[in-house]
Amino acid sequence: MQFWIIQGLNSLSLGGLLFLLSSGFSLIFGLMRLANLTHGAFFMLGTYFGAIAMRDYSGLDLWVTAIGAGIIVAALGGLFERLVLTRLKSNPLGQVLVTLGMAFIISDACLVLWGGDSIPVPTPHYLQAPTRLFGFVFPTYRLVLVGIAVAAAIGLYVLIDRTRLGAMIRAGVDDSQMARAVGIPVSRLFTIVFCLGAGIAGAAGVLGGPILSAYPGLDADMLPLALIVVILGGIGSLFGAFVGSFIIGFIYTFGTVLFPELAYIILFLPMIFVIAFRPQGLFGRLGT
């Protein structure tokens, strides 16, 4: 019983982390039809910013750092979008090349700037003590992370569903030519959404830091996870990304525990299954 509860909580917290990671990717893909392979690098950049800032300025708050890192990464993302990606609107192979190229640049820059060691992101001291619930012990920060993920999901839902910007994004997702025709500044919208997606990745990098730490290769570890979540949940569907994150959280956690010999393929088998029988993902829409 304890096993199921603890691993269930683990699945939830991993799911929360995955949603923070993949929501930005999903947002960008939904509007721009761009598989942003730099996403893992943006995430890692956030983690490094957090780790370094909090190492060099002790007393810095994790939440403030996350927002700061989010803003910096968003700005970098915006620059990248304006300077490079705008020129590649109808060149998907070119997009693959530059987004991966950018990921190479970022990860090598991190190695130059901060070396090859793992650098921790400290857990806020008031969240360091494990939570004891009905005799179970569970890391408090992980529980908080689930809460943050849910809050982020609600925030994004409100943004997309209730604001003018969201209405424009939705119009652009449905049909960007139509959106342009009715006077929505699609190009600027692309930049805003790219910044937003990159920013969420950067902030998520800091928030995931206490669990993951900053280390070379973090980007390559995270990018496939983001891709899997988004593909499984349905391309361009935030709701799909949300549900997909938790599904993957559960599959990964219970899969690696119950079938350790399948640890390497546990994430990919369900994905093959889903794409083969439901190419649009679990919550993706038909026709796109």
Binding site: F3, I6, Q7, N10, S11, S13, L14, L17, D108, L111, G115, G116, D117, S118, I119, P120, T123, Q128, P130, V137, F138, P139, Y141, R142, P210, I211, L212, S213, Y215, P216, G217, L218, A220, D221, M222, L225, Y252, T253, F254, T256, V257, P260, A263, Y264
Partner: protein, 416 residues
């Protein structure tokens, strides 16, 4: 075919047309510097170790004004990127383009295994750093020596220490799911169970495991201790999550030679205090050679040298000893190799000898993480002198068994 081509080449040797091939031909035998190649992964996930390997070796040579045994030394560093195929190309570059006299490195077992046949064929004296057991056991190469330790070599003393001094009876092992982790756990298990202990759980985690949560939660807390067999930064991340789950109070942690390496400790906090690990080195070793090395390294780079830095510094020392024996005639590769294997050299890890398989026989240290001058260090609490890769086992019997692996020796005391 080859011969005629070589003749063809040599006729062109003087001409500028042969500029591509010239590095191999412009140096007459015996003159010019001794060319030492270092294979280190300076990019990719193994970069941390690779960078330290370069820093320490460069420092070693600089301290000697780039001169060993009276002859200038040229160091050529090649980045293997931690990829076997790249390691091979880089080795070929060192051998065929740079014409190195000997090679130090590489770090990862799969890099070493990818190039060992080639190095043997080309007869290049190699001072290895990687730990793959069989390279000095069932498949030794006359051109390969190892100055550090096999995967399991350092775990035997730790098993002994756990039984006799720490009085542990039941232990859980957790290690990276690759050959190094398997071999380390296998060696530890063998010695520990032969001495009457029980390994009640073995967990192997994929090398790229961002979140250890689900593994940490599985650890059987009724064990006396947890043996941590990780490499690189994985131990560091595992331990942080281990503590998050409140397990540090419930179960003691002991570790293999890389689990709490100095390169890991420098980014850790009080959570590491008290953890006991085993290695062939510690930055705090109290011998004159290390007193000359570790503080200087620390002064220059602001952190303590660990496994990776020490490995190449050590290699430098062994190489220097051998070069002195053969009067710096590095061109005579057979003599160089014989000198490396035959010398007993005093090094930063203590006296180094080799067995007939080219593997080191040397001290292994049991260390405990303590705080000293405000930083975390591995303080030596016990020294096991002259530990062989075969520990106390009979060499012949040892080699008759299969090489250590995930499933060998079988774990008979696992609790479900």
């Amino acid at each position: 075919m080859t011969i005629s081509r070589r003749q063809f080449v040599s006729t062109l040797a003087g001409a500028s047309a042969a500029s591509l091939a010239s590095p191999g031909l412009s140096f007459a035998q015996g003159s010019g510097p001794i060319r030492v190649g270092l294979l280190a992964a300076k990019t990719g996930p193994l970069a941390s170790g690779g960078i330290d390997m370069e820093l320490a070796l460069t420092m070693f040579l600089k301290d000697r004004d780039n001169t060993l045994a009276g002859r200038k030394v040229e160091l050529i560093v090649a980045d293997t990127a931690g990829v076997p195929a790249t390691a091979r190309t880089k080795t070929q570059e060192l051998v065929e383009k740079n014409n190195v006299h000997c090679i130090i490195g590489p770090l990862a077992a799969f890099e070493a295994l990818a190039i060992i046949d080639y190095l043997t064929e080309k007869e290049i004296p190699t001072l290895g750093v990687s730990a793959a057991e069989d390279m000095t056991q069932r498949h030794p190469s006359p051109w390969y020596v190892r100055l550090t330790s096999t995967s399991a070599q350092c775990t035997y003393p730790l098993a002994d220490y756990s039984l006799k001094e720490l009085k542990y009876k039941k232990i859980v092992t957790i290690a990276d799911d690759f050959a190094y982790g398997h071999e380390m756990c296998a060696g530890f298990q063998r010695a520990f169970e032969d001495g009457g202990g029980k390994i009640i759980q073995k967990i192997f985690t994929p090398l790229a495991t961002p979140d250890y949560g689900s593994y940490v939660a599985q650890v059987k807390t009724d064990a006396d201790a947890l043996f941590l067999g990780t490499a690189g930064s994985n131990g560091f991340r595992f331990l942080r999550q281990f503590i998050e789950y409140g397990l540090k109070d419930k179960i003691a942690v002991i570790g293999g030679m890389t689990a709490l390496d100095e390169s890991v400790l420098r980014n850790m906090g009080d959570e590491a205090l008290g953890i006991i690990t085993t290695s062939w080195y510690s930055a705090t070793l109290d011998n004159p050679l290390n007193k000359a090395f570790a503080p200087a390294f620390r002064k220059q780079f602001k952190y303590d040298p660990g496994y990776y830095a020490a490995s190449t510094y050590l290699s430098g020392q062994v190489l220097e000893g051998a070069l002195k024996t053969i009067k710096a005639n590095a061109e005579d590769k057979k003599a160089l190799m014989a000198a490396i294997r035959g010398n007993n050299v005093d090094t930063i890890r203590g006296l180094v000898k080799f067995d007939e398989f080219g593997n080191v026989i040397g001290n292994v240290y049991i260390r405990k993480v303590t705080r000293s001058d405000g930083r975390l260090v591995n303080s030596v609490i016990k020294t096991y002198p002259d530990v062989s890769q075969f520990w106390t086992y009979d060499k012949k019997e040892f080699l008759k068994n299969p090489v250590y692996s995930r499933d060998y020796p079988p774990a008979k005391n696992l609790e479900l």
